[in-house]
């Protein structure tokens, strides 16, 4: 990126848009209602894909994260039995999905802090969210290595 202007479709732009949305929400009840809506509109995963090997450890609810590579980009999809968790996954997917592995690896995720989620989540839940992000980055690294070896 040569310009300081936020590039369209960048991780930064996606995060800024989320931050803007959250600024309109008055209190935590409203914020969570919005996250629940995000969970409800998310397609989730078909039951057949919810296998133990794609389950993320360290969450209070069951969380599954699925990945596939399409035209050199990682497409994430995820699901959870808790709707708020599913909404949070959807937020992460909005920011990180459909991007090249390198972009995901280099991405600085500041939106969680800026929407107040970092301070708000209890340590166990914050760990769950951190586990999700970590897992997404691990996938990115794995795909990056795989792509480099293929070339």
């Amino acid at each position: 990126m040569n310009s300081t202007k936020v590039a369209e479709n960048s991780i930064q732009a996606a995060q800024d848009s989320i931050i803007e949305d959250f600024e309109l929400l008055e209190d935590w009840t409203e914020k969570y209602k919005y996250i629940i809506e995000l969970g409800q509109v998310s397609p989730g995963l078909p039951e057949a894909l919810k296998t133990p090997d794609i389950k993320i450890k360290g969450c209070q609810s069951n969380v599954w994260l699925h990945t596939e590579l399409k035209d050199g980009k990682i497409v994430f999809s995820g699901d959870s039995d808790a709707m708020i968790t599913k909404g949070l996954i959807n937020l992460l997917i909005n920011v990180l999905s459909d991007r090249e592995p390198r972009e995901i690896l280099e991405g600085d995720l500041y939106f969680i802090d800026r929407i107040g989620m970092k301070q708000h989540l209890s340590p166990t839940r914050a760990n769950g969210l951190a586990s999700m992000i970590k897992q997404m980055k691990i996938y990115a690294l794995a795909y990056k290595t795989k792509l480099e070896n293929a070339n």
Binding site: D27, W28, K31, D81, M83, I84, T85
Partner: protein, 418 residues
């Protein structure tokens, strides 16, 4: 200077819940911009000013080590500490202060009995009988000592209402049973067990009984002589006292048949490299500098509860318990877990189609503190085939308005998620 052993009185007259609420400074605070509705009392209760003040007084006026120095402060601290022991004795109606051991809490008390009593009296093939509704802290210490000794843990089953199966209990008491370890009130279900009757049944076969009173101490007047229990363990922090302090009653006859399980200062009379002579009862079970401030705080909590009176507390809380069960139980989609005839302090429930984590989060956003999960009683959750429950647990400062708020927010959350 004021006497350190002064009696702390509530500023309220019994039973005025608004006045009682004013005794608890934390209830004035807001969480996430909303007034705090604290319904996690089975995990720990809030502290009245009298308790907080007693701890401040101790550290600002008489802080000193106990049972040691001849200097004045040490004497005052010792008097305050031993004065607190006398308060615990009265609280439990024990016959003698020698029967009162200060512990870290209920878990500490049960572990003490498992070690000091279990190591001496359990042998291979013996059985320790617990119930299916025990907190992990009345399961794991027995598993540990049983595995060390080759003894076996047996379990009294529960029924769908969350009551103990008394027929099974009768048949489980046999010549191999060496101890019954039983919860007085279940933390996950709120069931009040018929401990007096169960102790009598065990005693007819000369089997001693330990009662886990962690959840009973804040709700019921306890009389260890009337119950005739052999051991009774409770925690300060679940009865409006400080964390890290609890009491263990041990019947005198057993005290003399138990060896100290931790060595150190405070618990000895004389030490040479050849031989140590243990201190008198109960000090030989309190190795190291004790939690002096905690004991004094616990004493203040006892004064506070006694001044309100357990009769008034029970009457108020029973009414609130019934109200909460009715309010929460009548929400479409809600199923109450634990519907025992005798219940105290707890409304545990599951909501169809709603993950407990989602419910807990939405309630938290509304300023309501409840607990979701297995409540350290996984065997209870396994019995009901559920991963966990949402649990609202009541204290003396909770109101019908708070229950209404809980019910309303639960309804809204269900609507939102279905």
């Amino acid at each position: 200077m004021e006497s350190p052993s002064k009696t702390y009185q509530p500023t309220s007259t019994p039973f005025d819940v608004d006045a009682i609420r004013r005794d608890f400074p934390i209830l004035e605070r807001k969480v996430l911009g909303k007034p705090l509705v604290y319904l996690d009392n089975a995990a720990t209760t809030q502290k009245p000013s009298a308790v907080i003040q007693s701890i401040t007084d101790y550290y600002t006026q008489i802080n000193s080590n106990v049972h040691r120095g001849v200097h004045h402060l040490s004497e005052e601290a010792t008097n305050a500490y031993e004065g607190a022991r006398e308060k615990v004795r009265q609280f439990l109606n024990a016959g003698s202060v020698e029967e009162i051991i200060f512990t870290k809490g209920t878990t500490g008390g049960i572990n003490l009995v498992a070690s000091a009593w279990g190591r001496k009296h359990l042998k291979a093939g013996d059985e320790v009988l617990v119930s299916g509704m025990e907190h992990h802290s009345n399961i794991v210490p027995w598993q540990m000592i049983c595995s060390e000794k080759g003894a076996h843990l047996k379990v009294i089953p529960i029924n769908q209402q969350g009551e103990l199966d008394m027929d099974q209990y009768t048949s489980l008491l046999n010549e191999r049973t060496r101890l019954v370890a039983l919860v007085h009130i279940s933390n996950a279900l709120g069931s009040i067990n018929p401990v007096r009757r169960m102790i009598e049944m065990a005693h007819r076969k000369d089997i001693p009984v330990l009662i886990d009173g962690a959840q009973a101490a804040p709700h019921l007047a306890i009389d260890v002589r009337d119950l005739d229990c052999d051991f009774y363990a409770f925690s300060g922090h679940k009865m409006y006292g400080p964390t890290g302090i609890g009491g263990l009653f041990v019947k005198k006859a057993w005290l003399e048949k138990m060896d100290p399980y931790q060595g150190g200062g405070e618990m000895i009379k004389s030490v040479t490299f050849e031989k140590t002579v243990y201190h008198d009862l109960p000090h030989r079970f309190e190795a190291g500098t004790p939690n002096i401030a905690g004991a004094i705080g616990l004493g203040a909590a006892i004064d506070y509860l006694r001044a309100i009176g357990y009769d008034s507390i029970l009457a108020y809380e029973s009414d609130l318990q019934a109200y909460a069960s009715e309010k929460i139980g009548s929400i479409p989609g809600v199923r109450l877990i634990g519907t025992a005839h005798d219940k105290a302090g707890v409304v545990s429930f599951v909501v169809e189609q709603v993950h407990p984590l989602d419910l807990g989060t939405m309630l938290n956003a509304a300023g309501i503190a409840i607990r979701t999960g297995h409540h350290c009683a996984q065997p209870v959750m396994d019995f009901y085939r559920i991963p966990g429950t949402a649990r609202a647990s009541l204290g003396i400062y909770n109101t019908r308005a708070e229950i209404d708020h809980l019910a309303e927010t639960t309804r809204e959350t269900i609507k939102l998620l279905s």
